[in-house]
Symmetry: C2
């Protein structure tokens, strides 16, 4: 057994990890129906004017504006109505002085006409339209290219696609968009006692929790997950498994016990470069970070609360940066603490809490308990130079 010798601070750990993260630089075309939340890998320019033609912005009559000048409710004028333009059709006839065409919103403006008078300001008498209000040239017309000009930048590279962005892509005739491939994360459970549900438990066995929490957390943050394992606690088996593993990130879950961690360290030292093992954070101390080329390899603590807690702190920023996603906007609230909490100087503590009647009540049971996390609304962080937070002190709760 080799106990962890030197712990590094959480800030240092984050810095070391961040220096090794390379955003994914592979692309794929994604259909618009699947593209929300994905990140564009190139800027998109329009190959056409939107709208593609001058069109009516209102239901009414396409006229020559000059025909309406001087008109009022008292002094009306009459135009000869000689047809109708529906949306989606190309007008065949030309409007000339003293005539008009009925036109629907979105329909192509006919030649000759330079304005649309809204139906509300007219009266129809047989095939004559009575105008009761003047319009100016261009009134109620959307000009070709008003929305998007041919050649204009529609979306920059690196845009996280929201509904309106999807709409601007379909508006210019695209049904797919080039996006960054999601970072691939392979999650490998270790620990000879760990079995996947729903297989029946043998003596001494427990169900795998960490693979599922890690997969859930990282999927939410833009990763593509592959679950592998369980893997035998044996350095050769681990090295063998890593040999043909080309995921951007490999996360080992479990292996928290000293013996298991030693095996993982031995395996990773022979496979790549171990950058740290052991962080001054509670829970989550026995965390290991290694690299092999651009591949990042994490050994996460075996205890479910430790593993998930470190997932939030360490893995989420990695995956989001790789996926070209902005940092997570965390929802926080300042609340009084419900009871005195003692912490160890030198260790950054992440303490889960529930919020009850606007008070942050500690919810942490133990690192081994998934209910330390699942029954909590969020967490508070106690810095490494703080040994005590008193009941009633204001703490910042970060919600899950």
């Amino acid at each position: 057994m080799r106990p962890i010798k030197s712990l590094i601070s959480i800030e240092e750990a984050k810095k070391i990890i961040d220096s090794r993260v390379v955003p994914v630089n592979r692309y794929e075309a994604v259909h618009l129906s699947e593209a929300t939340g994905r990140v564009t890998a190139e800027s998109v320019h329009s190959t056409l004017d939107i709208p593609p033609f001058d069109r009516a912005a209102m239901d009414g009559y396409a006229i020559i504006a000059q025909d309406s000048f001087g008109v009022s409710k008292q002094t009306t004028t009459r135009l000869h109505l000689f047809g109708k333009i529906h949306a989606g059709e190309v007008p065949g006839e030309k409007v000339s002085q003293g005539t008009c065409l009925q036109i629907a919103t979105g329909a192509v403006m006919p030649e000759g006409a330079d304005a649309v008078i809204m139906v509300e300001y007219t009266e129809l008498e047989g095939n004559e339209v009575v105008l009761t209000k003047p319009v100016y040239p261009g009134e109620n017309i959307s000009r070709a290219g008003t929305d998007i000009n041919k050649g204009a930048l529609v979306l920059e590279a690196g845009t996280v696609l929201k509904p309106a962005h999807i709409g601007s892509l379909s508006a210019i005739g695209l049904d797919a968009v080039k996006t960054y491939v999601k970072p691939g994360v392979t999650v490998i459970s270790t620990g000879d006692e760990v079995v996947p549900p729903p297989r029946e438990l043998g003596g001494g066995q427990v169900y795998d929790v960490n693979s599922y929490t890690t997969a859930s957390l990282l999927t939410q943050n833009g990763a593509e997950i592959c679950l592998r394992g369980p893997c035998k606690d044996d350095p050769e088996a681990i090295v063998d498994l890593l040999k043909d593993e080309d995921a951007d990130v490999v996360v080992f879950t479990g292996g928290s016990s000293v013996g298991e961690r030693d095996i993982l360290i031995d395996a990773l030292e022979s496979h790549g470069e171990v950058l740290f093992h052991g962080i001054a954070v509670k829970p989550g101390k026995p965390t290991l970070f290694a690299t092999k080329g651009q591949q990042l390899i994490f050994g996460m603590p075996g205890y479910p609360a430790s593993c998930l807690s470190n997932g939030y702190m360490l893995l989420v920023p990695v995956v989001r940066k790789m996926a070209h996603l902005p940092d997570l906007v965390k929802r926080t609230k300042d609340l009084p603490l419900g009871q005195r909490v003692v912490s160890s100087v030198g260790r950054h503590q992440l303490l889960t809490v529930t919020v009850e009647d606007n008070v942050a009540v500690p919810a942490f049971k133990e690192s081994g308990a998934i209910t330390s996390m699942s029954k909590a609304d969020g967490y508070i962080e106690i810095l490494s130079n703080v040994d005590l937070v008193d009941k009633g002190e204001i703490v910042k709760v970060t919600f899950f």
Copy 2:
């Protein structure tokens, strides 16, 4: 042409809609790998203790605590080491006074032993373990059921599944969970000028934007989308199409022009019950709401900015309530307005803005322009009793 006669307020419209929303009451089992963000349809209780057995919480030696009483660095005691218990195996031998077993974190406590002494407080000499510190009975043992008791409530019905919840389900041996089926939303584009991308545009045609923005927005908010159409502007065709449509919600997009809206109203009046058509909101006035039994039917404005804007205001709350999801937590910020904005009294205005140097700058071009939305960071709302917001006035920006 029948102009909209009476507009109702946005608040009234929301109230009418809300009174007709029935949360989906159909269930499906979902694998844990797909369950994040889904809502549990029943409460889940554990059928076993977690951990299922008393286990070591640390690497060390399983001993009888009494053997360590009175021990110190100066006054050590020695125990006979006669074996090792790995995680995942069932200990065959019993610890008796004066003896101990090496034990790994997570391994089953052997009979006889009632504590684990951490490896740090021992020294190994041949097959004798030297204790340098006393432990109390129960020290470093996680008792069976500490995390979750057999029979205990693990998740309440109606829980929106987060990573830790997924972990608590796998912890009790489940690989799937009963969730509410997502509300089904069928989106039907209408308008004879509208064609889906990437088909080449004919004269007078434009690409469908509204189907894609609506689908994107509602997928984000828990709906299962089916895109249908384009549908002919003909009441019989619409009624025919609705006959075999059993989605929870049907959204017609397009049909904003007076003629098209009339057709949709005629169709919906013969098919079900029209509850309103026309809201005093800008953009988004020509919005129509009807029901047929529990099915909700919306006629959304054809203009892309109007359609999407009303999607945020009217459709998102509907879909979330149907999906058993809580109201959206909107991210807002109070900022000064970058230029004077004039609004019509009697109409609630939603004005899109970009945020530049901590100033909210109006980004709205026109209702027909998707760039009114896609180039914006969020929006401000101008109440119906306000006719002017001055440059520099503080406004609340809601981010998309």
